[in-house]
């Protein structure tokens, strides 16, 4: 049986599918890979965000770079494929941080933590229910999603692969 090739969701990319799909976000450091699914329509989407917010003084070349414009864009793209935006569920992982020892490091440098907080806050604002998330720590992660089984897996070099959740609404 042929093995389906996952859609690689690269940095700042947003991908949306209707029906069964495989997604993969490889090499997440402070970035976050987020998958959303609409159980009513079977529409799903994944985004790989880099930074919490877009720059006020600069045009946005790729909305998927930023949490504050990327997540609404993902929802918009899913709605265009037929998703019911009131029924979306999501899962996400990433937001790793450098390991700091006793240093008085500015929170501005904590890109991972800022990304994770921005995603959490915006999902709440958009009323999208989070099924599971795994953020923080200092390991790089890869997130894979199989929409046919609604399984979200997270893998890191040191901790191996584990099932993060099943995306049931």
């Amino acid at each position: 049986m042929a093995v389906a090739t996952p859609t690689l969701v690269g940095m700042a990319e947003i991908h949306v599918h209707q029906g069964p799909a495989l997604y993969s976000c490889i090499g997440l450091g402070s970035c976050i890979g987020l998958v959303a699914h609409c159980p009513a329509s079977g529409v799903s989407g994944m985004i790989h965000v880099m930074l919490p917010e877009a720059f006020k003084d600069k045009p946005i070349d790729k909305p998927g770079k930023f949490v504050d414009v990327g997540l609404p864009e993902l929802v918009k793209m899913m709605a265009a494929k037929g998703a019911n935006t009131n029924r979306l569920v999501a899962a996400y992982a990433g937001g790793a941080q450098v390991f700091k020892i006793g240093a008085d490091v500015s929170s501005r440098l904590d890109i991972g933590k800022r990304n994770a907080e921005a995603v959490k806050d915006l999902l709440e604002k958009l009323r999208i229910r989070t099924i599971a998330h795994e953020v923080g720590g200092s390991n790089g992660r890869t997130v894979t999603v199989d929409i046919a089984s609604l399984t979200v897996k997270v893998r890191s070099i040191n901790e191996g692969e584990k099932v993060l959740c099943v995306l049931r609404g």
Binding site: M11, A12, G27, L28, G29, S30, C31, M50, L51, P52, E53, F55, D61, K65, A96, Q97, V98, F99, K100, I101, A103, D104, V105, S106, R108, L109, I111, G112, S138, N139, G140, S156, I157, N158
Partner: protein, 288 residues
């Protein structure tokens, strides 16, 4: 780690240890001299045919979008400039061995390359913003900052996870854990290797102190640029291995460079965009 091996042994006994072609090092030095010109750089480069061929191939890559094909080295220096050819020369000299996988650090094929080139680019960008360090020197130092891993990888025997576990238990960064377990870290191994290769002192300092720039005496803006470039590259997930982000970031590097931490997001955005553009160059590197 199975056997006790000294730092000196790592550098002496590692099989298939890479080196920088002598012609590449000469080009690097010559471009810093006021007497150099396109003809002299081309003459030096032409002493190494394999390196010359790779540099020409890179000069003709889609990335530079030249209207006509460059067929000789002197022409490539005239069209692209000495600084650009110097950097291409270092890229051509390091890519063949940096793109190999490093099992000891759980780095797959091209992961070390992706991280090193990312650090070179991010460091160069930081040097440009701060105006306090030579962009070209930072580029080379960024490219070479993790050379110690290339030598040490063989001896780690896939024990990176154990070092990470120790780092987490002892609440120390990965380089500190390396020192406590092995007696030295990849930065010290890199320093030895850099001296063996006869690299300039400012580049050896960046290799040695890229995780701890406050310890570099006297302080060096080149080291600070490489440290922050390395931090950004890790944060963006370029070539993360088993050591992941188990390192510290030094805020004093921002202060010494006169940069505000608030500038970090802008730098990150510019860095990632710049890296994506360079992927055209990587296609030609793979073929070269």
């Amino acid at each position: 780690m199975g056997q006790t091996i000294t730092l000196e042994d790592v550098v002496k006994r590692t099989p298939d240890l890479p080196s920088i072609p002598a012609a590449a090092l000469k080009v690097m030095r010559e471009t810093d001299e006021s007497t150099s010109n396109a003809a002299s750089i081309a003459k030096t480069l032409s002493q190494d045919q394999a390196l010359s061929a790779r540099v020409l191939r890179l000069a003709n890559s889609a990335y530079y979008g030249l209207s006509k094909r460059v067929t000789n080295l002197q022409e490539s220096v005239v069209i692209l400039g000495m600084r650009c050819v110097r950097n291409l020369c270092m890229v051509a000299a390091t890519y063949p061995w940096m793109s190999r996988k490093l099992d000891g650090y759980c780095l797959g094929p091209k992961a070390m390359w992706s991280h090193s080139f990312g650090t070179a680019l991010a460091g160069q960008l930081i040097a440009r913003m701060s105006k306090k360090a030579s962009e070209d020197v930072v580029f080379t130092a960024g490219l070479l900052h993790d050379i110690g891993k290339v030598a040490l990888s063989v001896w780690l025997e896939n024990k990176t996870s154990a070092i990470v576990q120790y780092a987490e238990l002892a609440q120390v960064s990965f380089d500190v854990a390396e020192r406590r377990i092995l007696g030295y870290d990849h930065c010290e191994v890199g320093e030895h290797l850099g001296r063996q290769w006869n690299l300039p002192d400012e580049i050896v300092a960046a290799v040695r102190w890229h995780h701890d720039p406050d310890q570099c005496q006297p302080s060096s803006n080149i080291v600070d640029c490489v440290h922050l470039g390395n931090f950004l590259t890790m944060a963006m997930g370029f070539g993360l291995g088993g050591d992941g982000l188990h390192y510290s970031v030094c805020e004093n590097s921002f202060v010494r460079l006169g940069l505000q931490p608030d500038a970090l997001d802008q730098i990150t955005d510019q860095f990632v965009t710049g890296y994506e553009e360079y992927e055209k160059l990587f296609e030609d590197l793979s073929a070269a």
